[in-house]
């Protein structure tokens, strides 16, 4: 099993989700995060006090998939989340040691 972690632009979440659903990937967990990278942030000013904000809102998608589906998911995700501009985000892949379904103790690929 692999865990795919994609950090994408928030407004691309719906597209990404739909695309994944399209290839049968349903299970996923989403977190609101803030990211820092090459993308320039913005400046906020409150009563003359300037704040450079370089942490931008992003959305993190985590999904654990069977090894076989890895590349397909990556391709689908990059296609759906890409705008071509800096700040589009990253995908990281990790090895998963095990998975358990809490409801019924299913384990491994069966648990996904």
């Amino acid at each position: 099993m692999k865990r795919i972690e994609a950090i994408i632009q928030p407004h691309k979440l719906d597209d990404a989700k739909e695309a994944l659903k399209g290839i049968g990937i349903d299970g996923m967990t989403i977190t609101e995060v803030r990211g820092h990278g090459r993308q320039k942030g913005h400046t906020e000013t409150y009563r003359g006090m300037e704040y450079k904000v370089d942490l931008l809102p992003k959305v993190k998608l985590e999904m654990v998939v069977a090894d076989a589906r890895l590349e397909e998911v990556i391709k689908t995700l990059t296609a759906a989340a890409r705008t071509g501009k800096i700040g589009d985000g990253k995908i990281f892949v990790f090895e998963v040691a095990d998975a358990i379904r809490i409801r019924n103790d299913d384990r491994g690929d069966a648990a996904l």
Binding site: H11, D14, H42, T43, E44, T45, Y46
Partner: protein, 468 residues
Amino acid sequence: MTWLSPKNSSRTGIRCLFLSLLSAGLAAAQTVPPEILERLEKAEKAAANAQTAGDNGWMLVSSALVLMMTAPGLALFYGGLVRKKNVLGTMMHSFLMMGLVTVIWALFGYSLAFGGTADSKWIGDLSFAFMNGVGTAPNGDYAGTIPHLTFMVYQLMFAVITPALISGAFAERIKFTGMMLFMTLWLIIVYLPMAHMVWGKGGYFGALGTGIQAFDFAGGTVVHITSGVSALVCAMYLGKRKGYGSEAMRPHSVVLSTVGAALLWVGWFGFNAGSALNASGLASSAFVATHFGAAAAAMAWLFAEWMVIGKPSMLGAISGAVAGLVAITPASGFVTPMSALMIGAIAGVVCFLMVAKVKAMFGYDDALDAFGVHGIGGTLGAILTGVFATKEVNDLRAGMPMGLVDGNGGQVMNQIIASAVAWGLGIVGTLVILFVVDKIAGLRTTDAEETEGLDLSMHGEEGYHMEG
């Protein structure tokens, strides 16, 4: 408005009396001791003074209430309905009007709306510019028992909220500069003439004027139709928000909107009951009609939604209340409490259908339903005023029938004509202004600005920083 109250004449009568005191006094002096005459005179003045205290206190409070409608009222109602990233930009659309419109009003706006002579059919003049001649003495043309300053500032509060209402249509996608310019021109080109025609001295649609007599107690045509129809034009001109229909554009806080709607309801008492321009029984009557209309409409929208959509929602209840308040506005000083209940109930159902069903069929993006609620609700209210107005409540025409229920069917037609003119002025005026402003300053945000949100792109700040 002053001549919408039959009692007014008797009151200004009291004041006129003083002017004739000298002559009358001389005649009486022959048989009555002068100290008695003096006391009588003082008592008369004291009573008039007291009348002013009562009416003026009420009208100052009403003015404050109407300002409260714009902010925090409308600012919260609209601010809660947009996405988080646009909350300040949206509240700004309301709050800015409190500054911008006030300055224009002080310089020449008030004068263009309420200045003029009996011949000023379409627009006032500059006689009151720079507050010239607007002092503590009452202006008998409008309100005989309160200082002219009070009348001026009360009317100002209406001029503040009306353009703010439009902003619901272009929410989440308008440039700040374009918006400011649009609002300025719209006030001058659409609002001031319309206010003059309906409420100004000599205005063509004055309820007792020489033109087409339309009844608009507190601003159905002047405020709600003009703003609602202009909103529709804006929504269509600007186009849909990026992602409309695909992305979720849920209200970021129905809680804020509920607070806003409740404050609108409370403030609306100043709007409608204050339009009696005094604290008489007519004010009470308008107060009750306002409350009944809002209540009935809130219940009606709720039930309609329950039946059609399946669940009664908080957003439905508050939308209904606002729709009812809009619809009862022109009627509030003319109809019985029971008629108010009916007007509210009709408005609740019609506006719900408009917003939840008809809008979807046409597909324009009136983001916060400024047209669906104010345009439709205002038109409905204007017409129903012609139906339900009755001399029992307001014997404006000295014993003659008022609305259809009194047997004066023609009034409905008058109301339709006045509404049509407001529609026409709203559509044409707004189109021209949009076109001009778009050329000069630009109206629509860039894609990047829209994605980032108005708060950051226009104002360089954010509504919430909850991480701290």
